[in-house]
Chain length 328, copies 2
């Protein structure tokens, strides 16, 4: 089961008029910090506040009516949960969401408010996959995986089609495309889409320092594993290891991975507030952080950073704003 | 000197490819608060963080090359300043900006960073018009007024053309369109545009309580005056009285004005953070506040709120976030 360019184009047709076409933003102040032209794709403005709605809508819309009517189940630290809950709500079908008990309060509340049934588990001690599989079988629900599903990857890949078109309209055909990377659904789908739609754009996954399983996997060619799964500000993009489907796609289409510190992430969130008027979550801001602080690690004249989500608790956002000097 | 529909269409051609076409956003959570469908036009995502760039770019692009080369001058509490500074920078011509000495630090700093020369004045004791006129004459600069200029009003009116097209694409042809209103440039331009492009949409200016010169002027048919010009959280939209050009347009095309409290404004800023992932400034959030709290004062099934800007100091934004309960 692989993913093709045709799958991405088909996903785009299915999500059209439902998922938002997010704009491509910029600011001379960000260009100055990076020392290069910076373009930002704000998926925090997507339905449910993250790119995850694309994949969820793509997956649910690909199910046959009878299967879909029985309902869906998903496990997620939050953004995938909201994407699946919203897509299920669109279709009027049940959604069961398995979430870690330490997920941000906002994400738990939003998922419930979107009509989903939430089942929590202990991130350190319980196996979410086993819990999910068992519930799915019991209630005949279709499991919507967060990244290792061709329909999900194809949905996320629509970000790549939009970047290619929007950047080309600005006269940009060569660029380093930096993408916040957890399991690799957004990264692999976007990289596959760009390999055809804008072959001079090179995708680099971006991860928080200490949780760089994808960067190491791209370097070794094998599935590398994170030694820790908690303790990061960027909880939304921490996964044990890249996916079975996503890693081969990333190996085929991506450049080396980049990593950023938490200080750089908070700075990127503050700059997105100041210069783009965007609310970003830590995991969603890692690629912007890399664009601002590590643009020299990429070859192209232009850096395109995807902001993958904006579902952040107010106290963490306030913490990012507190890093700004009074002059700003 | 009046403003026509043709002027707005001509302005759109002149600013095309420079000003951003901002999207039209929504959230089921906002619909629930308002009790109606709510659509949001986020001009905080515009170049320089507010709609003001549209009018400034429209005005500068309408000048003949020789006149423009001598430079421009503007007086503004901040957003118009940044719009004019950016437009002047685009054309590589000098800009002198006269700003109140108590303008937010961020706005003063940004205007200077955009290459403009900033001259400050005391908002309570000095006449900014006289200072502007004197400097303009002395240096042969062209004065770009913040709202009472046909080319500026035409530029702001392009917001109306976009709303008509974007709402129609969503199947919405009837709506109350709520607009943050200071001197009335954005309100009058948008109302004029919609009178032709979407005649079943009715514009209502929105002001902070205690600074409702436009609402009272619309009720009396004459230019009413604010008794105070300072002491509002919504500094960006406080003006003495509606413009000479803008009031007749608003009398011809607008419904009654609405007012909101500062508590409602802070709540709207917090909801825009939570549900739309937008950074909004107090003055820019008054129409969203009215949509959330006073939708019952409008007749249409759908409310479209323009968020006019996002240039807010971090401490005021933090104050808005602090109004959220932990559950949110």
């Amino acid at each position: 089961m692989s993913v093709t360019l045709d799958d991405i184009h088909a996903a785009r047709e299915r999500i059209k008029g439902h998922a938002r076409v997010t704009p491509l933003l910029s600011s001379p102040f960000l260009d100055e910090i990076a020392g290069k032209r910076v373009l930002v794709k704000p998926e925090c403005l997507q339905i449910t506040g993250s790119f995850k709605y694309r994949g969820a809508r793509s997956a649910l819309s690909a199910l046959d009516t009878e299967t879909r009517a029985k309902g869906v189940i998903a496990f997620s630290s939050g953004n995938h949960a909201q994407g699946v809950a919203q897509a299920a709500r669109d279709f009027g079908v049940p959604a069961v969401i398995i979430m870690p008990s330490d997920a941000p309060a906002l994400k738990l509340a939003n998922t419930r408010a979107l009509g989903a049934e939430v089942v929590t588990y202990d991130r350190a001690g319980e196996d979410r996959d086993a819990i999910g599989a068992s519930l799915a079988q019991e209630r005949r629900l279709t499991l919507i995986k967060p990244f290792d599903d061709p329909r999900v990857i194809a949905g996320q890949g629509t970000v790549g089609l939009e970047i290619a078109e929007q950047a080309t309209a600005l006269g940009v055909t060569e660029a380093a495309v930096l993408i916040p990377c957890g399991g690799g659904g957004l990264t692999s789908g976007t990289a596959l889409a760009l390999s055809d739609a804008a072959p001079k754009m090179r995708v680099h996954p971006v991860e928080p320092e200490g949780f760089d399983d994808v960067a190491r996997s791209l370097a070794s060619g094998h599935h590398e594993v994170n030694t820790r799964l908690s303790g990061s500000l960027c909880d939304a993009i921490i996964t044990p290891s890249p996916g079975k489907l996503t890693l081969p796609l990333m190996l085929a289409h991506c450049g080396p991975g980049l990593t950023v510190t938490e200080t750089q992430v908070l700075d990127a969130m503050a700059q997105a507030f100041l210069r783009l008027k965007l609310v970003t979550e830590p995991g969603g801001a890692v690629a912007l952080a890399a664009a601002l602080h590590h643009a020299d690690q990429t070859e192209a004249e232009t850096v395109i950073a995807v902001v993958s989500g904006g579902n952040v608790d107010p106290d963490i956002f306030t913490q990012a704003l507190a890093t700004l000097s009074p002059a700003e």
